[in-house]
């Protein structure tokens, strides 16, 4: 059933996201033309058109990034908590499958958005030689990083990407949880949702701050200090460790939001 949910979820979101991607790619071609010719000529008309094309490209990049988040949050809200919820919440699928389908589809679109934005930037950057330069530059960078820190630079990049990805999913779940909680109220559902989003945000920051304050004096801190100073472990290992800890922290938040969302959709659902 999850597969079928995903299929219809992609159908529903694809009809918005794919045209957005196409627009972005089109503006990137425009920007490319602008950089290659229009800006350098003496023709004022072409100059203005060229700079407009560049502006359009920048707007499109920002627009696609913002829209991908908006579309995913709005999809959850419209599909499960508005009128369509009557159809969706009475399908023979579990609440878990509903949330997972929304989350997976969002994650895929987030990843695709990053990919398409990169692609659009490459297209805009005109020559194929530039792409080659960027690739070799990256290789250089990795080599230097690897050489300098004597550790695998790609691992750090991978960890960073995973962190971003998990962070996006956790963010998504935070939106889902606040919407689910807000819509369990009989009136002013949207106002409650926004309110709960900030309450959750505050709680997360408060707990995070508290945790750091506690850790400062705790055994873990000493342990870490012991590792880095006493046992003379490199700073790089500490970096790895903190990356992994951050990913775990995000996973933990995500899990909490996930269970909040499930509980409120299952037990406290209150469609209008």
């Amino acid at each position: 059933m999850l597969r079928k949910l995903l299929k219809h979820e992609f159908r529903a979101t694809g009809r918005i996201m794919l045209p957005l991607f196409l627009i972005l790619l089109a503006t990137s071609v425009g920007a490319n033309l602008s950089i290659r010719g229009m800006l350098d000529t003496d023709n004022r008309f072409l100059n203005i058109l060229g700079s407009l094309l560049i502006v359009a490209f920048v707007v499109a990049v920002i627009g696609v990034c913002v829209m991908s988040m908006v579309v995913m949050v709005q999809r959850f809200y419209k599909n499960l908590l508005q009128d369509e919820g009557y159809v969706m919440m009475t399908l023979p699928v579990s609440t878990h499958q509903h949330i997972w389908s929304k989350l997976i589809v969002s994650a895929v679109w987030f990843a695709l958005t990053i990919l398409i934005v990169c692609l659009a930037c490459l297209i805009m950057a005109a020559d194929v030689t530039v792409i080659g330069e960027i690739v070799s530059g990256c290789q250089d960078l990795f080599r230097h990083v690897t050489a300098y820190y004597a550790i695998n630079g790609t691992a750090i990049v991978a960890e960073f990407l995973v962190m971003c990805f998990v962070g996006c999913c956790a963010m998504c779940l935070q939106f889902y949880a606040s919407l689910a909680i807000g819509h369990s109220f009989p009136n002013h559902k949207m106002a409650w949702s926004v309110g709960w989003f900030f309450i959750i945000q505050f709680a997360v920051q408060f707990l995070g701050g508290l945790l750091i304050a506690l850790l400062d004096e705790s055994w873990l801190h000493h342990l870490l200090l012991g590792w880095t100073v006493g046992w003379n472990i490199s700073g790089m290992a500490a970096m790895h460790l903190s990356m992994i800890l951050m990913i775990l922290g995000e996973l933990f938040y995500g899990a909490v939001f996930y269970f909040l969302t499930t509980y409120f959709l299952k037990r406290r659902l209150n469609l209008e």
Partner: protein, 231 residues
């Protein structure tokens, strides 16, 4: 075995009781009218049976199972408001129902849609309000379900559409299934009902067969309703 059963069912919204110790059972093969004035708790009861709300106390069971993933496969539900996704085309809507419900009779649905002259590529968004309601009813009645829960299927439509809706229900429901129709327009549905349940202010007032009421009281259900719920 009862298809739908309530045991001492209560539902409160805050302090207000929407349903107050309701108990009844609906047997397979029966068409039951859930009748009561506006705000008497009909929709709450149907939402509880669909797992869209959770009981405050007591139990509601569909084929001896609490509402959830399993019962959703047996229940075909027509909500009070039109809720089919508006961005879909008719074909996509058919795909959707076929994907999720093993008991969906696509050919029956296609035939009914064709009868109404609805094009396969037409989007729900482009349809009139009345047509959307008919399309959703067609989807709901094209399933060979064990229980049909129809919330106000004839509220707010013209008399010709009312006839169309009622004949679609009679002509398509699975004879081994039970049908529960909630409405306050009693004279229109009276002829299609086996049995009626009256509820008022969240309490069950009466459960009886239509012919029994006519035989024993010498009046139609509509007349009895007006007498029971006299303001």
């Amino acid at each position: 075995m009862a298809v739908l059963e309530c045991k001492d069912l209560c539902k409160n919204y805050g302090r207000a009781a929407a349903l107050d110790h309701v108990s009844f059972a609906v047997e397979p093969g029966h068409i039951v009218g859930l009748l009561g004035p506006n705000g008497s708790g009909k929709t709450t009861l149907i939402k509880l049976a669909n797992g869209l709300l959770t009981p405050t106390s007591g139990e509601i069971l569909v084929c001896d199972t609490a509402p959830g993933k399993a019962t959703h496969a047996w229940v075909s539900y027509l909500p009070e408001r039109t809720s089919i996704p508006t961005w879909m085309t008719t074909t996509q809507l058919l795909d959707f129902y076929q994907d999720f419900y093993a008991d969906f009779r696509r050919d029956a649905a296609e035939e009914m849609l064709q009868h109404l002259n609805i094009q396969p590529r037409q989007r729900v968004k482009q349809m009139s309000k009345g047509t959307r309601e008919k399309v959703q009813l067609i989807m709901v009645m094209s399933r060979a379900a064990k229980l049909y829960l129809l919330d106000e299927p004839i509220g707010g439509v013209d008399p010709a559409t009312r006839d169309y809706i009622l004949s679609t229900i009679i002509g398509n429901y699975n004879p081994e299934a039970a049908v529960v129709i909630s409405t306050h327009l009693i004279s229109d549905v009276e002829k299609v009902l086996d049995e009626v349940i009256f509820i008022n202010q969240g309490r069950m007032v009466l459960q009886a067969s239509v012919d029994q009421i006519r035989e024993e009281k010498g009046m139609s259900v509509d007349e009895l309703f007006r007498e029971v719920f006299k303001c």
